[in-house]
Symmetry: C2
Subunit: 224 residues, 2 copies
């Protein structure tokens, strides 16, 4: 639910970049990183496509939004393409993150750290529980929610994760916006609204599950 | 990353239903449920659109894939539209879920329960840790991973959540497929592959964050 990007990110003549393309860039990046770990120096749109079950034309079209990355007779140089995709995604820099909510979900996200290897790192946590604030949790400082507007700019934080119960989510989002946050990943199972200049991604686990239940109950049409 | 639905779910002449439409159905359902909680009996495409920052034409077009739901001079009857959307999404029935992995993430998902009110309920958990298996966790039975193929069909489970570390995810997915699972929500930060008849949704938190970092670093183009 990121605000739509109305303009392309470069001078490509292909027009605005669909959100799904940015999503696939992340997938290409994962596969390229895996290829490098496995010792590959080069790859091709065919190989990348096969790894992700996309056509090679899809891979080439997606990358063409951002420039020409292939070499005749070689294909893509993995490490070069990784560098370029990271530049495009902005993850060639570190992104300190403010996490709001240190309940089960917040603690799981901190323990999970499935995103730290991509440059995202929780720099501080906010909560309202006096038993949790003004101490460290796994080496990360925990502050009272009241201090968002003070702490967030001081640490140069632009991204936040909301991991609070649904009824508190909008109030937390408002506080984050007031603190100058530019992007919010919302885990609370509720729709929140933010000003247009703030980017919002929602993670509603029920929505993912509903995609699956829809696909299962409608399988007779898919296969007919 | 659900397998694409090649055919529409009903005899609508509008063609195949894009995944994004199913996604928005979930959002409409959330807002309708909220409207009913707030005492509203009817709504309109304009109101639904405004709540979600979509145009009213978008709302009408999305719903038109599935039939005619509005009444002239009234709009939509909330509870009737809720019933119909639940039928379409398949959530007019209960969906018992098998969760694999009872680490931080698995425990958080069990504690979170942001999806139980939509009909999804974790019916059993699988893990490989002898200290965890053959007991209950929050009233949910925990079995050894080796017993997936025995337990899953016995409980009539068609949906599973993978919440194990990345290196174990593919092996777990293979076991779930062997057990007859039809839909998998994968939280492990790795690409897994499943046969075409199995539906797969991946939740990679870094991908969501990369959408945000992309939007932030490219804001100059968006606003130009």
């Amino acid at each position: 639910m990121t605000q739509p990007t109305d303009k392309p990110a470069d001078s490509s003549a292909l027009g605005p970049i669909p959100k799904a393309v940015i999503n696939r860039l992340s997938l290409y990046l994962r596969e390229l990183q895996r290829l490098v770990r496995d010792g590959s120096e080069t790859t091709s749109s065919t190989q990348l496509g096969k790894l992700l079950e996309f056509t090679d034309a899809q891979v080439r079209k997606d990358l063409a939004y951002f420039g020409q990355f292939g070499y005749p007779g070689i294909g893509y140089r993995c490490s070069e393409l990784i560098t370029r995709i990271k530049e495009i995604l902005g993850t060639n820099q570190r992104w300190p993150i403010a996490m709001v909510g240190l309940g089960n979900l917040g603690r799981a996200l901190l323990g999970y750290r499935g995103f730290t290897h991509q440059g995202f790192e929780v720099a501080c946590v906010f909560d309202v529980d006096d038993a949790k604030v003004n101490r460290q949790f796994e080496d990360i400082p925990v502050y009272h929610l009241d201090r968002i507007v003070e702490i967030v700019p001081k640490l140069g934080i632009r991204l936040a994760i909301i991991a609070v119960p649904a009824p508190a989510a909008q109030k937390v989002a408002d506080a984050l916006v007031a603190a100058g946050i530019q992007g919010i990943l919302n885990f609370a199972p509720v729709t929140i609204t933010v000003p247009r200049h703030v980017n919002l991604e929602g993670v509603d686990l029920a929505i993912e599950l509903e995609q699956l239940s829809f696909a299962i109950v409608n399988i007779q049409w898919r296969q007919s």
